[in-house]
């Protein structure tokens, strides 16, 4: 067992699960989507991205790409939340919530790809 692999797997899976947790629930109801969960998803995704830095293999490159996509979408979602709450006169409406959650949904797909890659990588590596 390799501690580095444990940490790597932990963050990749945690990024996906947090993202999923935020995403689940009726898309337009703000009370079903916790802002702390979005925050945690952003932070964990950033950490997962940095963990993927400097891997020169092909699968490492795709890993990094998916993480960057997820970051982009989640930061977009967080920015929208800030806009809706502080700048928009209407506040956090059902429409804004739907936009935020759909962005997070996009990030979820990227995170899922990441998890699939992780699983593929694990099963294809020889035990030893």
């Amino acid at each position: 067992m390799n501690l580095e692999k444990v940490v790597f797997g932990f963050f990749v899976v945690l990024a996906a699960t947090l993202n999923f947790g935020f995403f689940i629930g009726d898309i337009s109801r703000p009370e079903l989507h916790n802002q702390y969960e979005l925050y945690a998803a952003v932070v964990v995704n950033l950490i997962a991205t940095v963990l993927k830095f400097g891997d020169r293999t092909q699968i490492g490159a795709v890993h990094l790409a998916t993480s960057l996509v997820a970051d982009l979408q989640l930061i977009g979602a967080a920015s929208m939340w800030v806009y809706a709450e502080h700048i928009s006169s209407a506040g956090l409406t059902a429409g804004w919530t739907a936009s935020i959650v759909s962005l997070a949904g996009g990030a979820l797909v990227a995170n899922m790809v990441s998890v699939v890659l992780l699983v593929v990588e694990t099963t294809s590596s020889h035990r030893g």
């Binding site: 802002q35 702390y36 925050y39 932070v43 400097g54 800030v82 502080h86």
Partner: protein, 601 residues
């Protein structure tokens, strides 16, 4: 489909070339991958500091949103994520805008105090790691390599790849630079590569610190570059030179390779790979000595032309033809010299301290003893000798030997071997009749081979001519161009390079003397001497005025650079050529040419 394509490929590209290309492609791919290492190195080393920074920010921001605060009216109000992130951002970067949106409660202040210290540590760690990385040797080497790769890849003109940049490489580099050509250097020692930047070359010289035995390094240095014109192996390690020759012969069979070599065994091994040109300084010095013995003027001409542009006419030495010679040191050089002297029919006595060598023991004229011992020098009858050669590999010994020999017999012709460049002033002060500096011999030889193939041909032809001939050529050169060698250049009388003279050449009466006239005043000869005319594979050395030129001839000329320009104009502009040939000024422009006959009529 694939097979048909492959067959086509086979038809189009010869097998050797294909093999070379594939290998070159693979090499360049692997070397690019290695060059990209610098950025991966940064990313990998910065992982932990970046994660630490993210965690610090995340914890600080989260804490600030969780700690209860109050608004201006005293109602409990928590900070939003955005407010918290904003506050932490400016606090962590020590900008500090104050407490917004509302003055902080004591709980919040406590947390911000904690965050300040946490973030300072986070930043210090991240920036410290980055700075340490920038000063890291491996990182700098990777960066320098990347820089070098880019510089070489951008070269668009032909260049020479020099492996080994010692004294020889430096001398050669300077000659190549003076010719206006580019070169790339690979050397093991980083100081020598750093010296490159201090050297005053006209063109930028890319240098790589690395082992020339590694084909990857050679590839980065441009072995697979289409503009690479030649490879020169000049390291002081014979094996490394062999490795360079091998790599060049296998990956770029089309390139000329020149290698420095002192051992005949290595030279033989090199010859197994294509036909590299090997330069053996000891061997070459022996040849030069023989030439100097037989034809002093030819030797003088040879050394002058080999020294390259800007060289002053060397003195004509006159080694004694008859008499007894003494050689001290029976190493590789001593052996070579003894053999050459004996081949010229001279009696030679050798002094060497080691007699355990069976080869040496077989020599009847060998005196065993330390040459620097006065008693031993007395034994060999120096008073009646004519020549003395100090060929040990120790400069101090050589110098003291020369001094001792001169004291015994001041009339001696004295030669010595100079091993270290640092001792050059001492050897110059001794005013020796012949001096062997291996580095210079190699540099001159390689220069002669690289500058133009015609010069190389001319120099190889020299020993076969007699001394009177060489003295005559030398006299013409000095008479026309002075005692300083200006430029050597090549002229091709092809329709592309000499369009103006094609008609004249075709008449069959094109005398060389008629061409070499000053375009300003045709009664004055051009300050240039033709050294060689190459027609097909047949070369004529130092052709006279009556030599008849033919289309397609290649000429090697020595002379002033003004003469080079004048000759180029003559070969390209018909009006100028017409004047030189007939003395008639012909209008050069179309309009005037149309008008001139009308005027006459």
């Amino acid at each position: 489909m694939t097979t048909r394509l492959r067959a086509l490929w086979h038809d189009l590209v010869p097998r050797d070339e294909r093999r070379g290309r594939r290998a070159a492609l693979r090499l360049s791919a692997s070397s690019t991958a290695r060059s990209a290492e610098a950025i991966f190195l940064v990313l990998r080393r910065m992982r932990t500091p970046l994660i630490a920074l993210i965690v610090v920010f995340a914890v600080s921001t989260l804490g600030l949103t969780l700690i209860p605060g109050q608004d201006a009216d005293g109602n409990p109000a928590r900070m939003s994520f955005f407010d918290a992130f904003y506050v932490i951002s400016y606090t962590a970067t020590t900008i500090g805008f104050g407490e917004i949106p509302n003055p902080f409660t004591y709980g919040q202040r406590l947390w911000v105090t904690f965050s300040i210290y946490l973030s300072v540590i986070g930043w210090a760690y991240a920036i410290g790691s980055l700075l340490a990385l920038l000063r890291d040797r491996a990182f700098r080497a990777a960066l320098a390599r990347q820089h070098f790769t880019r510089k070489v890849a951008r070269l668009r003109e032909p260049f020479v790849l020099i492996a080994g940049y010692g004294r020889t490489g430096e001398l050669l580099g300077r000659s190549i630079d003076r010719l206006g050509r580019r070169f790339v250097v690979v050397d093991l020692a980083s100081e020598r590569i750093e010296d490159l930047e201090l050297d005053s070359y006209t063109a930028d010289v890319p240098g790589l610190t690395g082992d020339a035995r590694d084909p990857g390094n050679l590839a980065v240095a441009g072995l697979d570059h289409p503009s690479c014109a030649a490879v020169v192996a000049l390291t002081d390690d014979e094996e490394a030179n062999l490795a360079v020759v091998m790599a060049a012969a296998l990956l770029r069979p089309d390139l000329p390779v020149i290698a420095r070599v002192t051992s005949p065994v290595i030279a033989e091994r090199m010859r197994a790979f294509g036909d590299p040109s090997t330069v053996n300084p000891l061997d070459r010095f022996g040849d030069h000595l023989r030439l100097a013995l037989r034809a002093p003027a030819a030797y003088q001409l040879l050394t002058w032309l080999e020294a390259g542009p800007g060289a002053d006419l060397p003195d004509r030495g006159s080694p004694p033809r008859n008499g007894h010679w003494v050689v001290v040191g029976y190493g590789r050089l001593g052996r070579e010299l003894t053999r050459d002297l004996r081949a010229e029919g001279l009696a030679v006595t050798v002094i060497d301290p080691g007699a355990d060598d069976p080869d040496a023991a077989a020599d009847s004229d060998l005196v065993v003893g330390d040459g620097s011992d006065p008693a031993v020098l007395g034994d060999v009858d120096l008073e009646h000798a004519v020549g003395f050669l100090a060929s040990t590999d120790n400069d101090t010994t050589n110098l003291s030997l020369v001094a001792a020999a001169r004291r015994i017999n001041p009339e001696l012709f004295v030669g010595a071997r100079q091993n270290s460049a640092a001792n050059a002033p001492l050897f110059t002060a001794m005013e020796l009749d012949a001096l062997l500096v291996p580095a210079e011999v190699i540099a001159h030889e390689v220069y002669a081979q690289l500058s133009t193939p015609l010069l190389w041909r001319f120099l190889r032809h020299l020993p076969s001519e007699d001394d009177g001939w060489a003295a005559e050529v030398l006299g013409r050169l000095v008479g026309l161009c002075g005692t300083r060698l200006q430029t050597l250049w090549k002229v091709r009388l092809t329709p592309q390079e000499a369009p103006a003279v094609q008609g004249w050449l075709a008449t069959g009466g094109a005398r060389l003397g008629d061409l070499l006239r000053n375009p300003e005043d045709r009664d004055v000869a051009l300050h240039a001497v033709p050294l060689l005319v190459l027609r097909g594979d047949e070369a004529t050395a130092a052709p006279g005025e009556d030599f008849v030129l033919a289309p397609g001839d290649e000429l090697l000329l020595a002379g002033w650079s003004a003469a080079e320009r004048a000759l180029t104009t003559m070969l390209e502009v018909e009006a100028v050529h017409e004047y030189v040939l007939t003395g008639r000024r012909v209008p050069a422009s179309w309009i005037w040419r149309k008008l001139t006959p009308a005027d006459r009529g």
